[in-house]
Structure formats: structure tokens, C-alpha cells
């Protein structure tokens, strides 16, 4: 095990290579440029291919090609590039192509602010493309070390489910430096809980198995398999069709191969101080959760019954974590409130769900403490002179 002071971008690159990634196509963007940079250096060392694309849309299409050619493939970007993936993301979902995408959130909309963190793509990771009729998988680490682990896990899940998987990080994770341990062999990888799924090439002629059962077969596309791949609804043999019945089968498969196999996703989360039925549960993901955890620990020291729930698997959304009746406070790096909507939907109907937003900077402990005190005293949250709307 080697220990470095390095960026999250470095951690993601090393995680991808450990997971078997040998193809990267991307277009540089702050704060994920260093992933492209380090991939261009590292991949040739391990027999992989790096391509600098002319834009993000081309980059992800190239990754699909790489994946269909038998490589574990990856791309990385930030919000303004992630939105340009909309078309190839749909292709990858529809053609069941395993891919890993890293999105490092910065401040939006559009180019916004480059060197500051944001969480504006929570819903975009659920609906990254048009057309509906699919489920997505998204993992959200809160440190550089976890970004490495979640990149490895994203490759595992993308191979198992044959679908693109997004790792949703933010500028502080990818651009920030942290002490990082990198495993040097398989034993150390197992010790760190890394799961690897080998790329399997199925020689059979059929795109889908001839069964009504929704299972997750190994990748059938790849070298010498006569791969059929198109953006149209496929028949079971992979040919284009306009038949609604075929479409239903296809859509059902894209949705339920994930929904019915949630046990494989092993919903990760971090629970702190949730064992004594806290009055207030603070929900967050990504970097803000680190400030939340500190603030909640301090609140416990003051005798306040507050717990913290940090989500790591964002999609499919872990509804089962929201069974307690409590006051919920959702802390996000955006001003419009995205995760809070999902928490409001999943929480028991008589729970009060509140929102604390900020963007570009993490919330301070003073902000959090003030919000905790107000909510426990049944007062509305106020911030910078205006009253927040009740969620």
C-alpha cells in the first residue's frame, strides 16, 4: 500500500486502472482536466488507449466504441460537459454498453464558476438523456480516497448491469489534495473492499438471451461477435424494429435489470448517531457531508438529538433509508433544492422536510448549528434576510 498526498483526480485515475480501465476518451474541463492528463500518461504504460476528443459528445461516443471493442472504458468531465453526454448516454443505456463517467460538479448553470464546488446535477444523473424508459446508477463519494473506491465500484456495476454508471463528485474532491492510500496488489484491493468484474465476451449470436426472465448476461458485444448496435429499438437479435411489443420488452429490461437487482448494488451510506431515534436527521451527499458530520458530532456534544445520514448510492434512490418519522434537514450545494425533493417523497408523510442550500462554498458549521437550533425549536429557517420556503 502506497500513501500519497494527491488530488481526487489522481485517485480516480488510479482506481480506474486498478478496475481494468484501458480506454479513456475525454475533453478537458476544470475541475476534471487532470484525469484526462493523468490518463494520457498512465494508460499507455498499461497497454491502454487515450483519445483526446474534439468535444464531450464525441468523447463519450468514442468510449462506447471502445467498450464495444472489448475495453473497459471511461470518460470524465464537469457539469457543462456532462450535459453534452446526453446523446451518447442514451446510446450507452439503450445499447447496454458498460461505461464509467466521472462528473465533478462545479457551480452552474452553464459554465458558472470553474474553481468552486456545486451539486447541480443530482437529477441529471437520474435523467442524463431523453426518452425515459430506463433506470440509472450513480455513486457519490465524499473524499479522494472514496472517489477511488467508487470508481472501482462503478466499473463493477457497469459490467454487471451493462449500463453506464456515473460517479458524481465535486470540485473539492477532484481538485483537492488529500492523503490517499493506493493498493499495490489484489490482496490489498480486497482488503479495501474493491470488487472487480472481469470483462466477459459472450460468443453467442443473440443480443439478448431468448428468455422472458430479466437477468444480466455477460457482455455479448465485442471482438469477433458480429456486434449489432444501433440507436433504434432492437429485436432480440439486435436488428432495428418499429414494433411496440419489442420496445416494451426492451424498456422493461432496461428498467428492471436494475430495479430487480438492487441487492447487487449494496446500498452504501454512512449513518452517524442514528441509533437513538434522533429528532432531527441531516441528509447530505458528497463533500458537504463532511462538514455536516463535524457539526452533528458537535451538536451531540451539546446534548442535541441529531443524526446524520450520508448517501453514497444516489440512484436507484435508497427509499428504504427513510422509514423514520423525524425532522429532516437536507444540505446541498445548490440553491434550488434537488435531493430534498427526493427525501420529501421518500420520508414518511408526516415528517417535516427542510432544505439548507449553498453553492460555491461549503456550508459553515455556524450555518448548520443555527439551522439545527431553529429546527429543534420549531422555528422557520432564515438565511441572509429572506425566509426559505417550507419544503
Amino acid at each position: 500500500m502506497k500513501r500519497f498526498l494527491e488530488t481526487g483526480n489522481f485517485a480516480v485515475t488510479e482506481g480506474a486502472i486498478l478496475a481494468g480501465c484501458r480506454f479513456f476518451a475525454g475533453y478537458p474541463i476544470t475541475p476534471a482536466t487532470e484525469i484526462a492528463e493523468s490518463m494520457s500518461r498512465r494508460l499507455p504504460q498499461v497497454g491502454g488507449i487515450y483519445v483526446q476528443a474534439e468535444d464531450e459528445c464525441a468523447a463519450m461516443h468514442l468510449c462506447i466504441g471502445g467498450a464495444l471493442g472489448g475495453y473497459k472504458a471511461m470518460t470524465a468531465t464537469s457539469g457543462p460537459g456532462y450535459i453534452l453526454y446526453a446523446d451518447p448516454y442514451g446510446w450507452a443505456i439503450g445499447c447496454e454498453t458498460p461505461l464509467v463517467i466521472l462528473n465533478s460538479g462545479r457551480v452552474g448553470p452553464v459554465s458558472g464558476i470553474t474553481g468552486a464546488p456545486g451539486q447541480g446535477e443530482f437529477y441529471l444523473t437520474r435523467y442524463p438523456t431523453q426518452g425515459g424508459n430506463f433506470e440509472t446508477i450513480c455513486l457519490a463519494p465524499n473524499s479522494a480516497q472514496e472517489a477511488m473506491a467508487m470508481t472501482v465500484e462503478a466499473f463493477y456495476l457497469s459490467e454487471r448491469f451493462r449500463t453506464p454508471v456515473t460517479v458524481l463528485a465535486d470540485q473539492l474532491i477532484t481538485d483537492g489534495f488529500e492523503d490517499i492510500s493506493v493498493p499495490g496488489n489484489e490482496g490489498e484491493m480486497k482488503e479495501m473492499g474493491f470488487r472487480i468484474w472481469p470483462r466477459q465476451i459472450h460468443p453467442g449470436p443473440l443480443f439478448y438471451p431468448a428468455t422472458d426472465e430479466i437477468d444480466i448476461p455477460p457482455v455479448q458485444l465485442g471482438h469477433n461477435t458480429g456486434a449489432l448496435c444501433s440507436d433504434w429499438t432492437p429485436t432480440e437479435e439486435g436488428y432495428d424494429t418499429e414494433e411496440v411489443e419489442n420496445h416494451h420488452r426492451h424498456a422493461f429490461r432496461l428498467i428492471y435489470k436494475i430495479r430487480n437487482h438492487r441487492d447487487l448494488i449494496s446500498h452504501r451510506c454512512q449513518k452517524s448517531f442514528l441509533d437513538d431515534d434522533p429528532e432531527l436527521i441531516v441528509v447530505s451527499f458528497g463533500t458537504p457531508s463532511r462538514v455536516v458530520n463535524t457539526a452533528v458530532a458537535k451538536a451531540r456534544g451539546r446534548g442535541q438529538r441529531i443524526g446524520s445520514l450520508r448517501l453514497i448510492n444516489l440512484w436507484p434512490f435508497p427509499d428504504e433509508l427513510f422509514t423514520r418519522k423525524a425532522i429532516y434537514l437536507v444540505v446541498e450545494l445548490n440553491w434550488d433544492g434537488q435531493l430534498v425533493r427526493e427525501v420529501q417523497r421518500a420520508a414518511p408523510k408526516d415528517s417535516a422536510v427542510h432544505f439548507l442550500g449553498t453553492c460555491g462554498d461549503l456550508p459553515t458549521q455556524a450555518d448548520l448549528e443555527e439551522s439545527f437550533n431553529k429546527l429543534l425549536a420549531n422555528q422557520p429557517l432564515t438565511r441572509k434576510g429572506w425566509t426559505l420556503e417550507a419544503w
Binding site: 476544470t30 474553481g115 481538485d175 489534495f177 457539526a295 459553515t364
Partner: protein, 177 residues
């Protein structure tokens, strides 16, 4: 050992604010500490706003933000004005008077002038070693990190001009008390 040491450095792009945090962090990792270092910056390579926030601790670090920095290195007047009030009475501000020329006398913390730019120009005929001088000055006050390890990290991260960097580091160490 203090459970958590926070350090903020801020100035313009090109002054080495990020590099400085990286050198400190590298030294801390070598000492077996946990480290986080956040950087925030504008789009410019040079001239824009830059800030590094370094947290060092023997324990795993939760919040990586410096809300109450033990050390604040101010390399521009704008940075000084923006973060001076976050420094607690027990904290120390190290500033370069070439950039910070209007001090707030009302602060409870110690404020130490490190004439880094001036010293760099005087001794090395160019301002580029100012950052190393600041680091040397800091090493005198940062009891947490071993001086030699810090210098070693500096030389590992900046392989150029090693002899001058050694001299500049010592010059910085000697210019504050």
C-alpha cells in the same frame, strides 16, 4: 499534539499558493498525519484569486474547511481583508508587506510581516523565490511539522533551483521571530 491544525493561504494566481499547500501537505503525510487541502481559484492561470485550505491531523479529517485557521498566509490585500477575521486570537497571520500594506490593528491574533518579495528580489534578483521564503518563515512557527521534512518536501516538489531554494528557505526562517 493538537488534534487539528488549520492553515489558509491566499493571494493571486502565480504566487504559488497551491504549491505552498502541497508542500506542507506532503511533509505532513511523510510525518504520518492525515491531510486535506482544498484549493479554490478563478479561471486565470495568473493574477486571479486563489486560496488553499490545509487541515492536518493525526485523526481522520471530517470537515476539510478552515473556519478558524491557526495560520493564515496573506499574499494579497484582498485576501487579507477577506479572511483576517476568521483567525482566532491564538492564531498567527503571516503577510507579505509588498502586497498587504494596510494592517488591521484591531485584530487579537499575532501578525508577522514576512518581506518575502523584497528579500527574493534583493538576494536572488527576481521575485520567484518569495514563496519559499514564506515557507521558511512559516516553518519557524509551525511546530507541528519538522523543519527538515518541510525542506525535503519543497525540494522534492520543486526540483529546480535547489541551492537557491535552500537559501531562500533559511532566509525566511531567519527573518521572523
Amino acid at each position: 499534539m493538537k488534534e487539528r491544525v488549520e492553515l489558509v493561504a491566499s493571494g493571486f494566481g502565480g504566487q504559488g499558493v497551491v504549491r505552498l499547500g502541497q508542500i506542507l501537505g506532503q511533509a505532513a503525510v511523510k510525518q504520518g498525519l492525515h491531510v486535506t487541502m482544498l484549493k479554490s481559484h478563478g479561471t486565470e492561470m495568473r493574477g486571479g484569486y486563489v486560496r488553499s485550505q490545509v487541515v492536518m491531523s493525526p485523526k481522520l479529517i471530517d470537515s476539510p474547511i478552515c473556519e478558524s485557521p491557526d495560520y493564515f498566509i496573506a499574499l494579497s490585500l484582498a485576501a487579507y481583508k477577506r479572511f483576517r477575521d476568521t483567525v482566532p486570537p491564538s492564531g498567527v497571520i503571516l503577510y507579505d508587506p509588498a502586497f498587504v500594506d494596510a494592517l488591521d490593528a484591531g485584530l487579537a491574533c499575532r501578525q508577522l510581516a514576512v518581506p518575502a518579495k523584497q528579500l527574493s528580489v534583493e538576494r536572488f534578483n527576481r521575485p520567484i523565490l518569495a514563496n519559499t521564503i514564506i515557507l521558511g518563515a512559516l516553518s519557524r512557527h509551525l511546530a507541528l511539522l519538522d523543519k527538515e521534512l518541510l525542506l525535503e518536501s519543497l525540494l522534492a516538489i520543486i526540483p529546480k533551483f535547489q541551492a537557491e531554494n535552500r537559501q531562500a528557505f533559511q532566509a525566511g526562517y531567519d527573518c521572523v521571530h
